[in-house]
Symmetry: C2
Subunit: 406 residues, 2 copies
């Protein structure tokens, strides 16, 4: 009889978000009138902005006509989309509205950019390029999909502490320079911690010295607001020889339901004589048939100036939530981190409660849903994650409720 | 230094479609005025039909408003889409227009249906459920992605002949009953050969006796026109214990650019005590974030009666092409197969020419692009594939040109 992939048995019993959903469902069943406020899953609540909606409407019209119908697109994504992403890396100063200027100017060739359906999908696929008889380094705590994907593919996982005393930023200082595949998520999900250029350089140098490859998850880049915080790993010298960058339109432009992302694989990134970019090109030719034409057109329009101004408003809307939440946490002396460069606030459980105890308390007493920190790794125990992706009205209610904690 | 997945070196040098593109590009460069007719890649040419366009327009409106915005959907796809697919399996006779009735009534629970972004993606992902220290059986000739995906994942590949003397249908008659993962594509790409219930039953019985799992690619199901030809493998008794079915909206409804597909994993399908459906649920939770909301709404509307009538017209439009092509092939006594239950015609090269020789001749002398059969496996040598996804005007020109062959 055919045997299953035995690595499935090494997965943790439950995926944190599934477990939270189960608890919430159960609570709702026995508390039919309770109105829950969900600060759990990091999903946008603001609708697609009008300049993108207009482009989507035009694109739907175009595929309704024979002359402008679009079938299969290129595996790597349409050139017009990769071109505007490349320009965005190069020069964010060409907008007339200077508030849109941010980050450093970086040269990425459009041919080094690959459009995908989502960062989760892209980061899940990239491991196929590597021999699985090797180690991956995963910060703890971090987004659990890295761990699950590496487990299924059969890689050996080493965790790197990213704890409070180090501002929740993993560092290579105490690690032996063995070659590894290194996951870095900055701004980090769940802690909101984000690397300065100086601190990220330590990882780039480590990777270059040890022959490692960095998988840099920049899904939350749009939330970076401090000048010294890295937006792209390619701001760091040498990174083109050791790092792959993943970005998504999900949080930047509310595309969680539209599905569009991209991966950057610099041409210089090679292992012995093999350029990783060539392996990825080969892989996507037999593993995918490209990303929805409508989603790619929508993504292209993200880089219009009118769209950027609207998106900036949305990001600021979510950032307002952080201010509201932080004020109420301050008022009851609950310790928290993140929020400044990310949509997540990472809160320390007080009263010696565990992550799940605090979760249960918030659910049952205050009818607030958060994500228990322990779902993001052992070092997440004793914390919980609050998502700022929520309506102002709701966050105001949360602020009131929080004041009554214990 | 990090090592790459060594299975990449076992891939065939070139993916057939990439190689064809390269030759075509080169020809165009030195023949700037030549007007090529592309009968190569199997991509639809008719636009999205109006009932689907209307639904897409409404869906774009809905995501532009806060109250009806849709972010992340369920990993397995929206229930409303899985419900209508389940109904479609059950009862195609509830349309008032009886021309839409076809196939047998099959019970598939909506919870056994998983929405994906495309059959290529779904079939690429499914192998992750299995221990790779096992054999896959792949018919020769067949769609090359099966082979490439299995190679990258490290499976051992055994080819099963699907040759002219057996009507291009692989049979298990001469195969030792070892447990394997068996790929079956019916109607087949590239040969257009399609299994009768009687012939497919041989494979289902083989799988049950040997503890094998069948991966049934039904991407071309909408083109089945003969009553005794299988539309779904679940028409065969026992198949729920050994088969996974893959289907796509690409060829059925012109979704090659919209990206939507589905996989059926029956609950009874288990290996020892593990239900494959549970592994797949787990896998998609950390490997994907679902399929575009717009694509899923579009897919849902495929099952409306007005949409079905429009899609039927489109399928018939492509079938007309087969009639035109077959007449002209008859007139010059070129032997061909397929076409009746599929959008592909499989033509035998005459004059002792090889697949590539015939390809070059057609490209250079007649300015027609086809796909050389050898790209689909060793047994494809001496044949070429013609796609019926082309405009009538062009196929009429092709018919004229074909008459002048040699």
């Amino acid at each position: 009889m055919i045997r299953i992939n035995k690595n499935f048995s090494n997965l943790k019993e439950n995926y944190i978000f599934a477990e939270v959903n189960k608890k919430v469902r159960k609570f709702k069943e026995s508390n039919k009138n309770a109105e829950l406020i969900d600060l759990g899953i990091g999903d946008v609540v603001l609708p697609i902005v009008m300049p993108i909606v207009k482009v989507l409407e035009d694109s739907v019209k175009s595929i309704s006509k024979k002359k402008t119908m679009h079938g299969y697109g290129p595996y790597e994504g349409y050139k017009w989309l990769r071109d505007v992403i490349s320009k965005d890396y190069k020069n964010r100063t060409n907008f007339s509205d200077l508030s849109l200027k941010r980050g450093l100017s970086i040269s990425i060739d459009p041919d080094e950019i690959f459009i995908g359906p989502g960062t989760k999908e892209d980061m899940g696929g990239i491991l196929e390029l590597f021999d699985n008889n090797q180690e991956v380094l995963i910060p703890d705590p971090v987004y659990p999909a890295y761990c699950d994907t590496s487990t299924i593919e059969g890689f050996k996982i080493n965790f790197v502490n990213a704890i409070e005393s180090e501002n929740f930023l993993a560092t290579p200082k105490k690690i032996k320079p063995n070659s590894s595949i290194i996951y870095i998520c900055s701004p980090n999900n769940p802690t909101g911690a984000a690397y300065t250029r100086e601190k990220l350089k330590l990882w780039v140098d480590f990777a270059l010295n040890s022959g490692s490859v960095i998988l840099f998850d920049g899904a939350y880049e749009a939330f970076v607001s401090e000048e010294n915080i890295v937006r792209s790993i390619y701001e760091i010298p040498g990174s083109r020889r050791c790092a792959i960058e993943f970005r998504s339109f999900s949080k930047m432009a509310g595309f969680t339901g539209l599905r569009c992302s991209y991966v950057v694989i610099p041409r210089e990134l090679k292992l012995n004589e093999t350029h990783l970019i060539d392996l990825w090109k080969r892989r996507i030719s037999f593993k995918t048939n490209g990303v929805s034409y409508l989603s790619q057109r929508a993504a292209e329009s993200v880089y219009q100036e009118d769209t950027q101004l609207e998106l900036e408003k949305n990001i600021n809307y979510y950032k307002e939530n952080f201010k509201t939440i932080s004020k109420s946490l301050d008022s009851i002396n609950l310790k928290y981190f993140g929020g400044k460069n990310s949509p997540y606030v990472w809160v320390k459980c007080s009263y010696n409660k565990s992550s799940w105890e605090f979760f249960d308390y918030l659910l049952e007493k205050l009818n607030i849903v958060v994500i228990p920190g322990c779902g993001f790794g052992e070092n997440g125990e004793g914390y919980f994650r609050i998502s700022c992706f929520v309506e102002h009205e709701k966050v105001n209610q949360v602020a009131e409720k929080i004041k009554s904690i214990f």
